[in-house]
């Protein structure tokens, strides 16, 4: 079990934009009256897309919007691996390391990215652009090795392709794949 056990950092109070609030309201409205808590995961995704990570004040605000206790949000956010509970780089590379990807070279790819960006696992580059993480099976086993960044899959990777990908991200050429 490796769900987050790190203490969640406190952070500055957050302000949800009108647009974000509208999206959250829309997420809530997908569920019957009294069952709006079902929108919690979607709301956490929306907040993360906006702020890059999910802080305690963000979670408190979501709890408020759902009229539930803050702890009901904390326990969920810490269970699911997609939510970043501390600040991360602008682009988080989540590289799949599970069996089928390993068979086609994910170990070597992860090592290459670490060297290229000069960071260790879970670390962020000093310019705040890139964070390197590993992920368990991302569901693209036939297209590995692969990584996901901002809901976009990058598949059939080689060291050369990753080098180019990093440059493309630096130049701001790659839009989020969703949200």
């Amino acid at each position: 079990m490796s769900h987050s056990t790190k203490p969640m950092l406190s952070a500055e109070p957050v302000e949800f934009s009108g647009e974000l609030l509208a999206k959250m309201e829309e997420a809530k409205n997908l569920f019957p009256n009294g069952k709006e808590k079902s929108a919690l995961l979607k709301m956490l995704h929306l907040a993360q897309a906006e702020f890059g990570w999910v802080s305690v004040p963000t979670m408190d605000k979501i709890a408020d919007l759902l009229s539930i206790q803050p702890v009901e949000v904390y326990e969920v956010a810490t269970f699911y691996t997609m939510f970043h509970l501390e600040p991360v780089g602008k682009y988080v590379f989540e590289v799949c390391r599970t069996g089928p990807c390993m068979l086609v070279g994910s170990d070597q790819l992860i090592e290459h990215i670490g060297k290229k960006l000069n960071i260790g696992m879970g670390e962020t580059t000093s310019d705040g652009l890139f964070t390197l993480k590993t992920a368990e099976c991302l569901g693209g086993c036939g297209y590995g090795p692969l990584l996901q960044c901002r809901h976009r899959f990058h598949e059939h990777l080689t060291p050369e392709k990753v080098d180019e990908l990093i440059e493309q991200y630096k130049r701001g050429e790659i839009e989020p794949g969703a949200l």
Binding site: A39, M102, G142
Partner: protein
């Protein structure tokens, strides 16, 4: 032999993602036929006749599962689609939803009609957020055409369909964990009974089905259950999506008729075209990471020397001694250079990472196995570690609320059963084990 296509028939039609093209190819006519001419029970009957078995991995007959749904007066019932595809080796549902989203949408409405559900949910893993947006667009298109909403096709049947994301957790593919997650909670599996058919989503009667199972309902109702059942062998009827990966010349998603020989699937021109880079087959995990691994001599033939077929029965032939399972159709192939110990450690690390932590045997056991396998893989293990693994294994298996414990235990047991000498080599050659992989048939190869 080319397989008939029931799910991916129109895969190559340009624009098939959109509703206009989907309708031009006959889309939603099956729904119209069912809503206008068939009773819900008649739809259930056809699905029973088809012999369709759950395509998520368990292989339980879908029609029978539907017939268990409790129908108390005045309480809503739900259909929930399990699109949490996360069994390592499996990427077929993502493919189907991304390429032909309306097939799932039509299947959802059709199946909901059969079950008497006025609301249904697609729970999709959070990593597939872009697919969620594709589905959302398809759902909006279906509402605009009147295939969703009130009084569909003038039948009096109302239906709303919602798609919602997970947040990254393999365990949410287990149906009761999925329901917890859909309720906005941690994905801890529930103790059964009560089963979801009695108390599921928000304590209402609920059916949870895999994406591919729900999509298959469309061709079943279009052609009739008997026509579907005429494809395949015995209790393995119809077609199945197989996601092939690992060291194959042509990995990818293939729709096969159940009954295709494993040999043709791996080596045939219409399928995977053999092992990548001209190498030899060492082993295969035919149904997702949770099923037993087969050494090369048990992949295309059974222990009795019969041709191994892509069916639930043939892949399981020989039981856990010499067989495996069709599972989810996540077909993982290992070439001659791969190390079984390293792979077993990798998979166990996956299960240790994904255990929800609720049951001690799984929470602690998967972590212990991961540690023991890691020291074996890195040349720091001892002979008794191999037996220790088998011992931990037995203590996990059958002692947990959900099947994740079994899923973690079985692959380790099978790897030791078939490749014990490879584990022993890691103990007797500690320095080499750190530098090399143990290749095919006792020929250590340079990594």
């Amino acid at each position: 032999m080319k397989s008939r296509k029931l799910l991916l028939e129109h895969l190559d039609v340009p624009g098939i993602q959109g509703i206009e093209t989907y309708v031009k190819q006959g889309g939603y006519t099956t729904l119209e036929k069912a809503l206008k001419k068939m009773s819900p029970d008649e739809v259930v009957e056809e699905v029973k006749k088809s012999g369709l078995r759950g395509r998520g991995g368990a292989g339980f007959p879908t029609g029978l599962k539907w017939s268990f749904l409790a129908k108390p007066e005045g309480i809503p019932r739900y259909l929930v689609c399990n699109a949490d595809e996360s069994e390592p080796g499996t990427f077929k549902d993502r493919y189907l939803m991304e390429k032909i989203p309306h097939l799932l949408v039509e299947g959802m409405i059709l199946s909901s009609y059969a079950l008497g559900a006025n609301t249904s949910y697609i729970y999709i893993r959070g990593e597939f957020m872009y697919v969620l947006e594709i589905l959302q667009k398809a759902i909006q298109e279906a509402y605009a055409k009147g295939y969703l909403g009130k009084n569909i096709f003038g039948s009096g049947f109302d239906h709303d369909l919602v798609v919602t994301p997970g947040g990254g957790a393999y365990i949410c593919g287990e149906e009761t964990a999925l329901l917890e997650s859909l309720e906005g909670k941690r994905g801890n599996p529930r103790i059964k009974p009560p089963f979801p058919a009695v108390k599921g989503l928000w304590a209402s009667p609920t059916v949870v089905n895999n994406v591919e199972s729900i999509a298959a309902v469309v061709p079943i109702i279009r052609d009739g259950g008997d026509a579907y059942a005429s494809i395949g062998i015995g209790k393995s009827t119809g077609t199945k999506l197989i996601s092939a990966c690992g060291n194959l010349a042509r990995p990818g998603v293939y729709e096969i008729e159940l009954g295709l020989s494993v040999e043709e699937f791996i080596y045939g021109d219409d399928y995977c075209r053999g092992i990548a880079n001209g190498k030899k087959l060492k082993a295969c995990v035919p149904g997702g990471s949770s099923v037993p691994i087969l050494p090369h001599f048990l992949v295309t033939k059974t222990a009795a020397g019969e041709n191994r077929l892509m069916t639930y029965e043939s892949l399981a032939d020989g039981g856990f001694q010499s067989g495996s399972m069709l599972g989810s159709g996540g077909f993982i192939v290992f070439d001659e250079d791969q190390c079984i110990v390293r792979n077993t450690w990798n998979f166990t690390r996956f299960y240790a990472h994904e255990s929800c932590g609720q049951c001690s045997p799984c929470r602690e056991g998967t972590g212990w196995m991961e540690k023991v396998l890691h020291r074996l893989e890195t040349g720091k293990g001892q002979m008794h570690d191999i037996d220790l693994l088998a011992d931990i294994n037995k203590k996990i298996e059958g002692n947990t609320i959900c099947p994740l414990g079994d899923a973690a235990a079985w692959p380790v047991a099978a790897a030791i059963r078939h490749f014990r000498e490879e584990f022993e080599w890691h103990v007797t050659h500690p320095e080499e084990a750190q530098k090399r992989n143990y290749g095919l048939i006792q020929q250590p190869v340079v990594a």
